[in-house]
Symmetry: D3
Subunit: 163 residues, 6 copies
C-alpha cells in the first residue's frame, strides 16, 4: 500500500472542523498532502498565500503533513504526484450527494479512491461560509477556528469597515 | 501507518456491491480483514459457515484478504486484533446517517476510525434484502451476486418451497 | 404507446393519498390496473378481500380502473399482463431511495418503467400506518380516508376491543 | 400564552440527549410535563416504572418538571391536560420526516403545536437503541447516559447473561 | 418564562407560508417580533420599506405582532432586545440542515434557542423564490401570497417590462 | 389518453443521462417534445441554437422526438401546445425536493402532471455542471456525453484558452 493521501479544499479559511479531519487522516497515513485549491471561479476572502500560511500554523503540531497548492482538476494533481487516495470529511447529508458525485467521477476519470471520514459532531455545524458570516458582523468565532485564523478574520473585516 | 483495515458486515449473502467495496479497500491496505457478523438478533437466511464460504469463493482472486467471524461489538473485535480502521461502503443518503452515528460511536468508544467509500453507481440499487426478495419469488439475480451465491439462493428457496 | 399502467400497493387500507395518486394516473392512461399485493410477509390489518372491496368503493367514480390482486414479484405480474408502466406516488424524501431502488431493479429485471407522481401536499403527511395508529386509539380519521374505510377501521378496532 | 408544554417519549432509557432537550425546553416554559409512553406495541427493555424512576433521577435538578405516563394518542393526553404545545428534539434528517408527519397529524387532529429543538451536536449520534446495543455487549456507555441509567443497564444485562 | 419570540426572515415578499408560521407562533407567545432582515448581500426584489409594509398588511389581523427591521447577526438583535427564542418554519428536508446549523451556531454564540414549527402541508411547496419566478412570467400567484403582495408583484414586473 | 409528453431542460449541454431519460420517455409516448429552455437568467456555456443542434444529433435515432425551444413558464408552454404531461429524470435526493416543489406548483397552476423517471444508476453521478467543470480543465468527458458534445466542449474550451 502506498501510504500517501491528499486532503483537498479551498480552506478559506481553515476551521477547527478541517483541522479535525486533517489530524484524523494524518494518524493513518505516512504522508498527508493538504492541497489548497486556488479556486479561480469565485472570489475567496483570503488570498492563496494567506490561506496556506493559516493552514501551516494550524497544523504545525503534525509531523507528516505537507501543504501544497493546486489549480484545475484534483485527479490531475493526484496523477502528477502519484497519489491514489483522497480524504474528505462528511458533516451532513447535504454534503453527501455532491461529495459522492465527485468521488465517483474521480474514480472513473483516474482510478482515484476517496475515503470519507465522519467529522466529529462537535464540528458538525461549522462551515467556512458560516464562520465568515459571523465574523463579518463582529461575532466571536474563537471557538470555531484556530487562533491565527481568528486574528486574521478580525483584521480582514476591520480593514473592510475602515475603507 | 499500520496498514490493516477491517470490512465488517452480515453478508447474508455477499452481493456484487460488497465485492466492489472489498476489492477497492483491498487495493489500499496491506491486509484487509473481512469480518462476518454472527448476528444473534435476527434470523439470517444463511448460516454463518455458509456466509463465510460464499465470501471466500467471491474474494479468492484477492491475495491480501482474510475472512474472520465475530459477535458482539465491532470495536471489541478491532481492539482484540489491533485494527484501527474500519472500511464501509456508502450507497445512498438513507445509509448515511446510521453509518455516521455508528462511526462516531466507534470513534468515541475506542478511537477506531471509519473510512467510507462510495459504492460504484452500478451497484447503488443493490442490497442483500432486495436480492433475497427477488430470489424468493424466482427472479433472476445472476447480475447482482457472484455465481456461487446465485446457486445457493436458488437451492435455498427451492428447499423452502418443497417443504 | 400501450396505454396501460399498473398502480401497485398493499392498500391496508386505501387512504385519500392513494386515491389521489390513482385519480391522477387514471387521467393519463386508457386503462389503469390497481394491483393489490397479498403480502404474505407481514400480517395486514384487513384481509385481501376486504382491502379490494374498500379500493373498489373508493374508486368507483373512475371508469377506466380495474382492481386485481397479486403475489410474488411485481415484474412477473407486469409480464403476465403485458404491462410496461408502473405508477407510484412519492410523498417524501424518505420514500425516495427505496422507491428508486425498486424502480431500478424492476427496470433491470424486466424493462418495466416506473413513473413517479408527486402526491398532493394535502396528503403528504398521510400513511396507512399512521392512519391505523390513530384509529386504533379512537382518533378521528375521517379527513384522511374514504368514508367506507373510516367505518371499517372503527368496526375493526371496536371488534378488537370487545375481545 | 399558556406556558405549559409536554415533552413525550418512550425513554427506554433516558439518554444525555433526552436530558439536553428537557433542560432546554424547561428553560422556556413555566411547567414542562415529561410524558413517558407505556408503549404497548414493542417490548421495552425497562418497565414503565423503572423508566420513570430513571427520568426522575436524571431531571431532579430541574424545578419545573413533572413526569407523567400515558398510553394511546399524544393528542388525547394533550386535550385531557389542556396542553397545546409539544416539544421534540431533532437530531438528524432521518428523524425529520416522520416527526413532521406526526406534528402535522397532531395539529390536524387537535390543534396541538409541535416545537422542534435542535439537539446539541454533542448528542447528535446518540439514540436509546444504539446505547442499548453497546451496553448489551459490555461497552462503556457512561459518556452517553446519566449515572443511574448506566448502572441500570449494567444490572439489566448482567441479569440477562446469568440466566 | 419570558414570553417573547422573534420570527426572522427576508420576506421578499411575504408568502402565505410565512403568514401561517407567524400566526402559529403568535398563538403561543405574548409578543411576537417579526424581524425583517435588510440583507445587504443579495439584491432583493422589494426594498426593505416595502417588504415591511407588505408584512404589516398581511398580519394586521394579529394583535400581538410587532414588525421590526435588523441587519447583521440575528443573535445581536436578540441580545439587544432581550429575546431568547427564535421561531422558524421548516418546510422540507433541504431546509433542515442549514437551519439546524444556524440554530446550533446561535445557541453557541448567545444561548438563543430556536423553536422550529412544521409548515402546513398546503404551503410546503411555496418559497419566495418560486413565487417570484412564476410572477415574473405573468403566472397567477394569488393562491400563494396575500392580496397586497399579489398586486405588488404584478406592478413590479409590469414596471420591469415597460422599461 | 393524449399520448404526448414534454421533457424540458436547459441541456447546456445534453449528457448521456439526459439521453437516457429521453429514450425511456420516448418509448412510452406517441410523441415526445424535448423543450430546450432559453434561460435568460444565467449565462449558458452554449447558445440556444447550439444546444438544440447537439440535442438533435444525440436523439436522431429516435423517431417520435421533436425538439422545440421555449422561454418563460413551462406551464405556459404546455398550455399553448396542449400537453398535459411533463417527464423529468430524478438522479438523487438533492434533486428531489426542488423537483417536487416545481411539480406541485405546475399541477396547481395549470393541472399539468409530472412523471418522474429514475435515471439509470450508470448516469446517477452525471450533471451538466460537473461535465463542464471536468472539460474546462481538459479532463476526458467522452464516457459521459454524446460524441458531438465531446467535440463541442473541446472546441469551446480550446477557444477560451487561446483568447
Amino acid at each position: 500500500m502506498s501510504s500517501v493521501a491528499v486532503c483537498p479544499g479551498t480552506f478559506d479559511p481553515v476551521t477547527n472542523g478541517h483541522v479535525d479531519v486533517i489530524e484524523r487522516a494524518a494518524a493513518h497515513f505516512e504522508r498527508l498532502i493538504v492541497a489548497c485549491l486556488r479556486n479561480v471561479g469565485k472570489q475567496p476572502l483570503f488570498q492563496l498565500d494567506r490561506r496556506v500560511e493559516l493552514l501551516r500554523s494550524a497544523t504545525d503540531h503534525l509531523g507528516n503533513i505537507e501543504i501544497w497548492t493546486f489549480e484545475g482538476l484534483l485527479v490531475d494533481f493526484c496523477r502528477q504526484n502519484d497519489v491514489g487516495i483522497v480524504v474528505r470529511g462528511l458533516r451532513a447529508v447535504s454534503d453527501f450527494e455532491s461529495e459522492l458525485e465527485m468521488a465517483q467521477m474521480n474514480h472513473r476519470l483516474a482510478g482515484v479512491e476517496t475515503f470519507f471520514v465522519a467529522t466529529s459532531p462537535l464540528h458538525s455545524f461549522l462551515s467556512s461560509t458560516l464562520v465568515k458570516e459571523v465574523a463579518r458582523f463582529g461575532g466571536d468565532v474563537s471557538p470555531f477556528v484556530p487562533p491565527a485564523v481568528c486574528d486574521s478574520l478580525r483584521a480582514q473585516f476591520a480593514a473592510n469597515r475602515s475603507v
